[in-house]
């Protein structure tokens, strides 16, 4: 959970372990360099109220422990978002959890010198021992430009190194410098003595002109943008990219997930042959192996989605896509970058919420994360399939339009529209008055560093397993205990299906279901459905298997048995009510665990659970009452 951050606090007292901060403007190539220097052993800090957390790592290939921290990008020392505040607070030594860094690596994008120099002019006043690293020197040379690093070194008063991050050129020299902090020096800018933004920028512009001789036009980027931002082809290309993206997390992840699923149930079966039958075997197979399986199962979607957005971000297309859809998302109070987390949430809210990190604005990011669980994820499909098959007649409207398909589409559309309306409401109420209007930078197109992308993927996956995974595992063991205790008295020779039903009915979960039945009575839910609702907190599709157990029926949703049983034992208004409940309810502990991780506390997951529950309850109630009147 949050112990990653505490580790850094402890280790900072070791005198032999200097802390070096990576500072720079967004998009300067800072994180790529950080990835190359620290490799696969990164940790991500967890700080309350901050959703983009700094990554921490040790310098690779060095015996002495040198800690590096990748601080969120800033434009100035006047922060305008919580993430920027974290960076400035750390650099000023005002952060309670991270000590004032012993030194800093100031990363400058060589092709875009002025902005970096402006930041440096403010940063210099902090008097932190610094080296400057200039990225993208190769691009300057490719465009026929020159870069005068000696002049820059002279003006800034600190060593200036250059690097081609994605090719690893110059990395060894940087490592060399990082090993001996004595090489760092405190910035000295003699030619500037004023504090207005305007004067600082004029200084930066002047210096930039002297240091960097470059044809201002980036012809490749301009040419590509004529295609990717073309009024007609631009949106079409975007649509194609998004279809590919959706396809990849929705269908390409499925074989991998089936493989993991099969692997874990195979393991459980195997373990069951070793350990004698009984509650201990049950705990190991269902509680532990089942619990770990329910965490690992998310990895394919998370990794595929991260691969996709990291590539899109690194090559520069993400900003273009966000530009194209900003108008549509803006109508609901969101921004263009919210599109990807929301689309991703149709496959699964877990990767969807994790990908909200691409949204730079705090309020937009929180709003997007709060509505992501409303998007119809694939775990709802088994419930929809079961109930639609049982209650919607398989007729074709006008001879070709399946009524069942139409109802399914209606559920998807209802959820999506409700989510966007909720976003609009949140932006008008709790997230009112965004501090900063929409402002987006277009980075030049560039080749992604596959090494850096790989390192990012590895670290994101590891981070999910360590933080959210722990919470999910604990939740699933608790849920296992709730359904397995107290043990039911099952007479010898009882058929297995009946024995399972008896156990579930008499368990804490079963008794709780019966106990809180009055709460769900207004929605038409009986105690069996109530137990199903509780059981599905492990994962929504569990509703189907719990119902199967309670009706002692086969649990595959395609199997006719459970469907036939439900047809006779459940009325149409109740079925509609259950459907509405699952359209809205955040009935998923994994989503809650990830929300906790991404927002740095229990406040927002509690809020998300609360508002979706009220919404689910309210809509299910109305639909139930209205349909009672009709049917």
């Amino acid at each position: 959970m949050s112990h990653c951050a505490d580790d850094t606090v402890e280790s900072r007292v070791i005198p032999d372990s200097p802390l070096i901060a990576f500072v720079g403007t967004p998009n300067c190539g800072k994180s790529t360099l950080f990835n190359v220097l620290t490799g696969l052993r990164q940790k991500v800090g967890n700080f309350p109220g901050v959703t983009v957390n700094p990554a921490l790592g040790n310098l690779l290939g060095h015996k002495k422990n040198i800690r590096l921290i990748d601080l969120p990008g800033i434009y100035s020392l006047a922060p305008k978002s919580p993430d920027e505040s974290l960076t400035t607070a750390v650099l000023k030594g005002e952060n309670a959890k991270i000590a004032l860094p012993d030194a800093a690596v100031f990363v400058i994008n060589g092709t875009n010198l002025e902005k970096s120099l402006f930041l440096f002019s403010q940063f210099a006043a902090l008097k932190i021992p610094t080296i400057v690293v200039v990225t993208m020197i190769d691009e300057i040379k490719a465009r026929g430009g020159t870069f005068d690093d000696i002049e820059l070194e002279h003006e800034l008063g600190v060593p200036v190194l250059s690097v081609v991050g994605h090719k690893g050129v110059g990395v060894d020299e940087i490592k060399e410098h990082l090993r001996s902090i004595g090489d760092f020096s405190i910035p000295q800018i003699s030619s500037l003595d004023a504090d207005s933004i305007e004067i600082r920028h004029k200084w930066a512009r002047e210096l930039s002109k002297n240091v960097l001789k470059l044809d201002q036009r980036d012809a490749v980027t301009e040419r590509l943008d004529k295609i990717f931002l073309h009024p007609v082809f631009g949106p079409l290309i975007f649509l194609a990219v998004m279809l590919l993206f959706f396809q990849s997390i929705f269908t390409w992840a499925t074989p991998l997930m089936d493989f993991i699923d099969g692997g874990f149930s195979g393991l459980a079966d195997f373990v069951a042959t070793i350990i004698p039958e009984g509650i201990f075997q049950n705990f190991i197979t269902k509680g532990i192996i089942g619990g770990v399986g329910s965490v690992v199962i998310f990895l394919p979607q998370i990794l595929i989605l991260y691969l996709f957005i990291t590539l899109l971000e690194e090559c520069g297309y993400l900003a273009r896509g966000a530009f194209l859809v900003d108008r549509i998302m803006g109508a609901f109070g969101l921004q263009g970058r919210s599109f990807i987390p929301i689309l991703g949430s149709f496959a699964c809210a877990i990767p969807g919420i994790m990908s909200a990190r691409i949204i730079p604005n705090e309020k937009d990011r929180l709003t997007t994360m709060l509505i992501a669980p409303l998007m119809t994820c694939s775990a709802r499909l088994p419930i929809y399939a079961l109930l639609i098959a049982a209650f919607v007649p398989a007729v074709y409207l006008g001879g070709f339009l399946s009524l069942q398909a139409l109802v399914l589409f209606g559920l998807y559309a209802l959820a999506a529209i409700s989510g966007l309306v909720m976003a609009w409401i949140f932006k008008k109420t709790i997230f009112k008055g965004s501090k900063l209007p929409f402002l987006m930078e277009f980075p030049p197109y560039r080749k992604p560093s596959f090494k850096s992308v790989g390192i990012t993927l590895f670290n994101r996956g590891k981070e999910f397993l360590q933080s959210a995974g722990t919470v999910i595992l604990i939740f699933s063991i608790i849920l296992w205990a709730l359904t397995e205790f107290p043990r039911a008295d099952v007479p010898e020779g009882t058929p297995q299906l009946v024995a399972e039903r008896m156990q579930l009915e008499q368990s804490i979960a079963g008794q709780t279901g019966k106990f809180i039945e009055p709460v769900f009575k207004p929605l038409g839910f009986d105690w069996k459905i109530t137990i199903g609702v509780i059981g599905s907190f492990a994962a929504r599709e569990m509703f189907v298997s719990v119902m199967g157990q309670l009706y002692s029926a086969d649990v595959t949703e395609t199997d006719a048995t459970l469907r036939e049983v439900l047809k006779t034992s459940m009325s149409l208004p109740v079925a509609l009510s259950v459907l509405m409940f699952y359209v809205y309810a955040l009935q998923c502990m994994s989503t809650i665990a990830v929300l906790k991780r991404e927002t740095g506390g229990w406040k927002w997951p509690t809020f998300a659970f609360g508002y979706t529950f009220l919404l689910a309850y309210g809509v299910a109630f109305f639909v139930y009452r209205i349909s009672l009147g009709i049917f």
């Binding site: 434009y75 100035s76 006047a78 305008k80 092709t111 875009n112 002025e114 902005k115 402006f118 933004i197 305007e198 920028h201 004029k202 930066a204 512009r205 470059l214 201002q216 980036d218 931002l229 009024p231 631009g234 949106p235 530009f323 194209l324 900003d326 108008r327 549509i328 803006g330 263009g336 501090k435 900063l436 209007p437 929409f438 402002l439 987006m440 930078e441 277009f442």
Partner: protein, 88 residues
């Protein structure tokens, strides 16, 4: 000719979103000082900076501006505090 040109320069500054696509302009100043206009200046859009309106996103979406080697996009309805002098 000189009179004509100076007259063109002397006219009241326009708001950013009034500029047609493809036009070149100079940042004249900001209607108010807030975090947004401060951020724009931190990005280098200080008064006197030469800008070009590159394009607009579909459905009257954000406006893309280029200046120097930078390119940023702002929403038209959120940019009414940016005042510019048109050059063509």
């Amino acid at each position: 000719m000189t009179l004509f040109k100076s007259k063109k320069y002397m006219k009241t500054p326009l708001q950013l979103h009034e500029l047609p696509i493809g036009s070149r302009a100079v940042i004249a100043g900001y209607g108010m000082i807030n975090e947004f206009t401060e951020r724009l200046q931190e990005l280098g859009l200080i008064p006197g900076t030469l800008i070009k309106i590159v394009r607009r996103a579909p459905f009257k979406g954000p406006v893309e501006i280029s200046y120097g080697t930078n390119r940023v996009a702002v929403r038209a309805h959120e940019s009414d505090s940016i005042f510019v002098e048109c050059l063509n």
